[in-house]
Amino acid sequence: MINKLVESMAEAMAGIRDGAVVLLGGFGSIGQPNALVDGLIEQGATDLTVVSNNAGTGRTGLARLLELGRVRKIICSYPRSAGSVVFEEVYRTGKIELEIVPQGTMSERMRAAGAGIPAFYTATAVGTKLAAGKEEREIAGRRYLLEEALPGDVALIEAWEADRWGNLTYRSSARNFNPVMATAAALTIAQAQHIVELGALDPEKIVTPGVYVKRVLHVPYGEPTVT
């Protein structure tokens, strides 16, 4: 019998190694796996590379992980926003490496990783300073950049409903990066608001089939707040 439901945070976080590339779901504060990030803080892995659209706000969650010096490098599209005070501090003092990636290139690099595509050409960022060092090629009269896939060792994601096979649904715009990150990591760990019986999810409405998910932790935290 397949059972991907885990009973404890320690079980959910088991085996995340120092130096891991961690994909973190969420856009703004919606769809962020906050409980799993707290679990990662507790678990202790360090020297991490984090892939996340934003670089954390306030002093909790991702911001706390940065403040503790556990993140060597962050790959994101929008590091600066109201409240990204910890990122500003660690970046200014040279304690973190930053790779800025256009948001669509970032999500497509993970999609490619999940689909076995090592690299792809895109028109995004051609002629800009983010093209530095990248192979450029003209195809049918237009210029493109070669972008490499971005696989993760671990993905931490948030879902709405889950079953014991790891089938997942999402809620409204909390879907965001979560399904694509689920496909791109070797170890995908989901926190879910609701755990349902196998068979209870309408197959037409499952967004992430369980094949992509290794562990599910039940975290019924209620409603998110925008920070």
Binding site: F27, G28, S29, I30, G31, S77, Y78, P79, R80, S81, Y91, L98, I100, V101, P102, Q103, G104, T105, S107, E108, M110, R111, T122, A123, T124, A125, V126, G127, T128, K129, L130, Y170, R171, S172, S173, A174, R175, N176, F177, N178, P179, V180, V207, E223, P224, T225, V226
Partner: protein, 219 residues
């Protein structure tokens, strides 16, 4: 800026309303965060222009009443929004495939500068800014079928935002098709900026005096 005393520049809301008038029913449109988001307020609800938000919302509606907020539904500017009837959700890779695959009819972005060759600079004000936030701007500028820019004609210090060549780091090359400012509406053509309309009281001579890039009237 005495040269402009004879005319009345548009306010920000008038600028948003002006852009809205030019968006035909049936178009799929992405509005950049900041001033462009206001354009949606001036498209009548019965007009089926479909707004896309890059965090995976197609058919974005206006802000909800305070007692009807869906806490899982925000736009790219991280404000609560609604989903209109017929709307749908998608994940980020699909949302940007929609953008990069040329499925949007229009994107309207704000900008620091637009050059007469259509280059746009809107994500970073200096080569020394080592942690600028690009977000989805480069994907939108390179991927949508048509890019319009909504911006003030001049900077706060009175410099022209319509330039011969961008001095700020560019977001995309040759991407802008039309610019809406508080003074004029201009097309970007192979021969540079062509004025479609100016606010009442403004003349080509006066507008040229405050604009770096050469201007001509559209035919």
């Amino acid at each position: 800026m005495n040269a402009l005393d004879a005319c009345k520049p548009l306010t920000r809301t008038e600028m948003a309303a002006r852009v809205a008038r030019d968006i035909p029913e049936g178009w799929y449109v992405n509005l950049g965060i900041g001033a462009p988001l206001q354009i949606a307020d001036y498209v009548p609800a019965e007009c089926e222009v479909i707004f896309h938000s890059e965090n995976g919302v197609l058919g974005m509606g206006p802000a909800p009443a305070p007692n009807e907020i869906n806490r899982w539904l925000i736009n790219a500017g991280k404000q609560y929004v609604t989903l209109r009837t017929g709307g749908s959700y998608m994940h980020h890779a699909d949302s940007f495939a929609l953008i990069r695959g040329g499925h949007l009819d229009l994107c309207v972005l704000g900008a620091f500068q637009v050059a007469e060759n259509g280059d746009i600079a809107n994500w970073s004000t200096s080569d020394n800014d080592t942690a600028p936030a690009v977000g989805g701007a480069m994907d939108l500028a390179a991927g949508t079928r048509q890019l319009w820019v909504l911006m003030e004609h001049l900077t706060k210090s009175g410099d022209s935002r319509l330039v011969h060549r961008c001095t700020y780091p560019v977001t995309a090359l040759g991407a802008v098709k039309r610019v809406y400012t508080n003074l004029a509406v201009l097309d970007v053509t192979n021969e540079g900026f062509a004025i479609r309309e100016m606010v009442p009281g403004l003349t080509l001579d006066v507008l040229q005096k405050v604009t770096d890039a050469p201007l001509r009237m559209a035919i």
